[in-house]
């Protein structure tokens, strides 16, 4: 049973990429929706399997690591697989209504969408350093292709900039992999982690870890390497922006987190941990401030991603050299932050897309009067904003509460400034959007009304993000269970 599910998980996105490549937009859409149903069901079933029986290894081709590639399906991985299925399903459904079927190049959206999904699954399950590199490239190239879709000059400019940053990041990561292979003679992450316990000379590998973190942080758009993100996420079509912000940047962060949790205790250092945390904190403030100042709606949301990504990097200082309980707490906080941000940000981008569709402009002050016309989309935007601010009972609140407890437990009170200040800044930029849309004296009196179906999808995502704080217990129990028995069965 599990083998079938794994084959389905790995096979469906790749096969659907080929199928949709061979068809036009409308048929591709129908095929995609069928595929979405399959993927969501498979992900749910796998989640239930892991929740019931714990994690497991899946050797591809029947070859065990280090000779072959082993996939690792543990609680954290399956949580991310499920999250990806939810967000990608929402974005795919939204895109089916949102994109104009009569534009010939929109047909290429579907294969790129499926390749992106396949790449994300590769990264969540990856336990082989080189396989993770290929997965990262799969994600990056598909994402760049999606940004460039339509190919006008500004979109191309953003796509090229994105591609250059992504390529540099991948190469830095690959150089780290080369050094690791030289040192350990193995590419399996858990193999390297167990070799580290045998007390061998590892002077050279610290630099390799730094290289990999540099590359992954560049791909995650950590401050001050975030400058490629707002143009790319701002200019892409809204369902694409939702995918990029909600999932793609998490891919590289996830690898960094895995590396840190497996190897950080031996190869990391206090300075590296604090540096990553401080950069994350600066990202929270800088991203929030830029989001507050920007005059275009989608750029506001994109800068808000820069800020929200910053919180994730608190994981590194909070898990350095501390007790097992605090490490688990920080991991739970990170997981909740990833999930709630993914749901909220996807909701935000999709509803922003609806608002833009309605007023025909990306400028904030063009939103005047839209509150009368699209209250539903605006309400979804606001609900997602509540989660970003971190007000109870949202998932954002639960994540920040856990971060706060972990900070206090390790005595690193300075992260409280980040957690509180970031919340205030998010409140400021969300209210700014609201103020713009409640201005009464609008000189436009004809709004285009997008279909109801477009409005319902972001609302569901926003509600999920809002309710995550209440459902956190089952989510966290599956995730923590897998950390408890580490390597699986």
């Amino acid at each position: 049973m599990t083998l079938w599910l794994m084959a389905g998980l790995l096979f469906t996105p790749l096969a659907w990429a080929v199928l949709t490549l061979l068809t036009g937009f409308r048929r591709g859409r129908a095929i995609t929706w069928l595929g979405i149903v399959i993927q969501v069901l498979v992900s749910l079933a796998l989640w239930a399997v892991v929740a019931a029986e714990g994690g497991f290894q899946y050797p591809l081709g029947g070859w065990q690591a280090p000779l072959g590639i082993e996939l690792r399906m543990d609680g954290l991985a399956v949580t991310f697989v499920l999250l990806t299925a939810l967000v990608a399903a929402a974005s795919g459904l939204h895109a089916g209504f949102y994109l104009d079927p009569d534009k010939d190049w929109h047909r290429y959206f579907w294969p790129l969408f499926w390749f992106l999904w396949a790449g994300l699954n590769v990264v969540w399950l990856g336990n082989d350093l080189f396989n993770l590199y290929v997965g990262l490239e799969l994600i990056s190239l598909a994402a760049v292709g999606l940004v460039a879709l339509g190919g006008q000059s500004e979109a191309l400019r953003a796509a090229i900039r994105y591609l250059m940053a992504a390529l540099l990041g991948s190469l830095a990561y690959l150089l780290g992999v080369a050094l690791f292979y030289g040192q350990f003679g193995s590419l399996s992450l858990s193999g390297i982690a167990s070799a580290l316990n045998q007390d061998i000379a590892v002077e050279g590998s610290g630099f390799a870890l730094i290289l990999m973190f540099f590359g992954l942080a560049l791909k995650t758009a950590l401050f001050p390497m975030h400058r490629w993100l707002p143009p790319a996420h701002g200019i892409a079509r809204s369902p694409v922006s939702a995918l990029l912000s909600a999932l793609v940047v998490k891919g590289s962060f996830y690898i960094a987190a895995r590396l840190w949790l497996e190897l950080g205790a031996t190869l990391g250092s206090l300075a590296l941990a604090q540096l990553l945390g401080v950069l994350g904190g600066m990202a929270v403030f800088w991203g929030g401030w830029q989001a507050f100042r920007h005059s275009k709606l989608k750029q506001v949301v994109a800068y808000s991603s820069v800020a929200q990504i910053g919180y994730l990097f608190l994981l590194f200082p909070l898990t350095w050299n501390t007790t097992e309980a605090v490490i688990i707490q920080a991991q739970q906080a990170m997981t909740l932050q990833v999930i709630s941000h993914a749901l909220a940000k996807a909701a935000m981008f999709l509803s922003a897309g609806n608002l833009i569709l309605s007023v025909g402009s990306n400028r904030l002050n063009a939103l005047a009067g839209v509150s009368h016309f699209l209250p539903f989309s605006l309400f979804s935007f606001g609900l997602a904003g509540v989660s970003l601010m971190g007000l109870p009972p949202t998932g954002g609140f639960a994540a920040k509460w856990l971060f706060l407890q972990a900070s206090l437990a390790t005595g690193q009170w300075w992260w409280l400034v980040v957690l509180l200040g970031g919340g205030l800044l998010s409140a400021a930029y969300v209210f700014r959007v609201y103020r713009a849309s409640f201005v009464e004296d609008s000189d436009i009196d004809h709004f285009f009304h997008p279909s109801r179906r477009l409005e319902i999808i972001p609302m569901i995502l926003a509600l999920l993000s809002l309710g995550l704080g209440l459902m956190a217990e089952p989510v966290l129990s599956v995730m923590a269970l897998a950390f408890a028995n580490g390597e699986g069965t």
């Binding site: 190239l141 760049v144 250059m164």
Partner: protein, 116 residues
Amino acid sequence: MTPFLLYALAGAALCSIGLFGFILISHLLRKLLAFNLMGSGVFLVMVGLAQHRSGPDPVPQALVLTGIVVAIAATALAVVLIRRYYHLSGKTSLEDPAQNPPPAPGPRQAREAPHE
């Protein structure tokens, strides 16, 4: 010390030369060449270091082959995007349009010259 370590060290040198070019050069095609130089350096480190440690090792050789194909795919995509960007905007670099005066009209209207 074996000659293979020398390959790895040469790879390290290529990487830093490529990095220098990648950061400093603003012309997109030359930036892409710098990226490829860096990529070659990484591959050299990968093969050289493993070979120095344990003799001829087919695993990094296969990895490098995979890496080369990925690098080719990325390079080819970048070239297509860059050419189209040049075609539409007449620019060969990503300098911020806000800081520069509007560029000379690109070759968008004119038929593309055979030798670009």
